[in-house]
């Protein structure tokens, strides 16, 4: 039963206040993209056993989406940050590095 902190309203709440939204930072492929790129965007997920960047919505709270860096193996949370970012912010990367020195961002 996760506890997450919403970076928008600052509330720390339990998982049931939130709604999980899958992998973060997907690049949307629209008309004009190849079938393969489109498939990757729609279906192929990192699904790592380890550090995962994912989307959550503070569904019962402020209603806002945000991003979380979390380990899928230990469920440890490295930080949460706003949804209006296309890449993992530096401070989150360093928070992960601090606890997982071997971790490298995915290509």
């Amino acid at each position: 039963m996760l506890r997450l902190t919403c970076p928008v309203c600052g509330a720390t709440g339990e998982e049931t206040e939130f709604h999980a939204g899958g992998e973060a930072h997907l690049k949307r492929f629209g008309p004009g993209s190849t079938d393969e790129d489109f498939r990757d965007y729609l279906f192929q997920r990192q699904n790592p056993r380890g550090v995962h960047f994912e989307r959550w919505r503070h569904q019962y709270g402020c209603g806002k989406w945000f991003h979380v860096a979390r380990c899928t193996q230990t469920l440890e949370v490295f930080g949460s940050y706003t949804a209006q970012t296309s890449t993992v912010p530096d401070h989150i990367q360093s928070a992960i590095k601090a606890r997982r020195p071997d971790w490298e961002p995915a290509q």
């Binding site: 600052g10 569904q59 402020c62 209603g63």
Partner: protein, 193 residues
């Protein structure tokens, strides 16, 4: 004969605490950037309340302004005043990118009163309701049992709660069940009055 009615139609329950339909309440959702000084000024001017800080509320359901989200406020006023207040807000906001919608009828407000108000809420809301963690002036949007609610303390032993109109009956029933006599938990210190 054709009078407006709340969803709960004045319902009242008395057990470990009292649970009461607050009656018709004017409610206006204001969306816009809460960091925009123009918006803050307009809202303060029309409502008489400063824009509250994150998860704070000024006043109560009779006259109050609550933080709902980073770009959303909820104004409480008299039911009959809501349309005109909303119109005044729209005027005052002018060109500021914003949205004002009257939601007086979309919500129900319930008043809770009694020594164990915090405990009754803590039976359904995953929120730290200890007096030093959740005080008057705080508002929390969360869930109660299986539905979305927002609540705030109006005194040491009283609170108000707002929920969607369609589930008002459910919430009322839920609160009455949780406060049936003999179900007090005895966890939070009894408030001093």
């Amino acid at each position: 004969m054709f009078e407006p009615r709340t969803a709960l139609q004045g319902a009242h329950f008395s057990g470990d605490i009292t649970v009461t339909d607050a009656g018709l309440v004017g409610m206006i959702a204001i969306r816009g950037s809460l960091t925009d000084p123009a918006l803050c000024a307009a809202v303060a001017e029309v409502t008489g309340h400063p824009v509250p800080a994150t998860r704070k509320m000024s006043g109560d359901a009779t006259d109050g302004l609550a933080w709902m989200s980073a770009d959303e406020l909820m104004l409480f006023c008299a039911y009959g005043d809501a349309p005109t207040v909303a119109a005044r807000l729209v005027d005052a906001l002018g060109d500021v990118h914003s949205m004002v919608s009257v939601l007086s009828d979309a919500r129900a407000v319930i008043r809770l009163h009694g020594d164990v108000v915090r405990e009754v809420l803590a039976k359904g809301a995953p929120v730290d309701l200890a007096p030093d963690q959740f005080a008057q002036g705080d508002i929390r949007r969360s869930r109660l049992g299986q539905v979305a609610v927002a609540f705030w303390m109006t005194g040491a032993d009283s609170a108000e709660l707002v929920c969607f109109r369609s589930v008002a009956g459910f919430v009322f029933e839920w609160l009455s069940t949780a406060s049936q006599s003999g179900s007090a938990v005895g966890y939070f210190a009894t408030p001093r009055r």
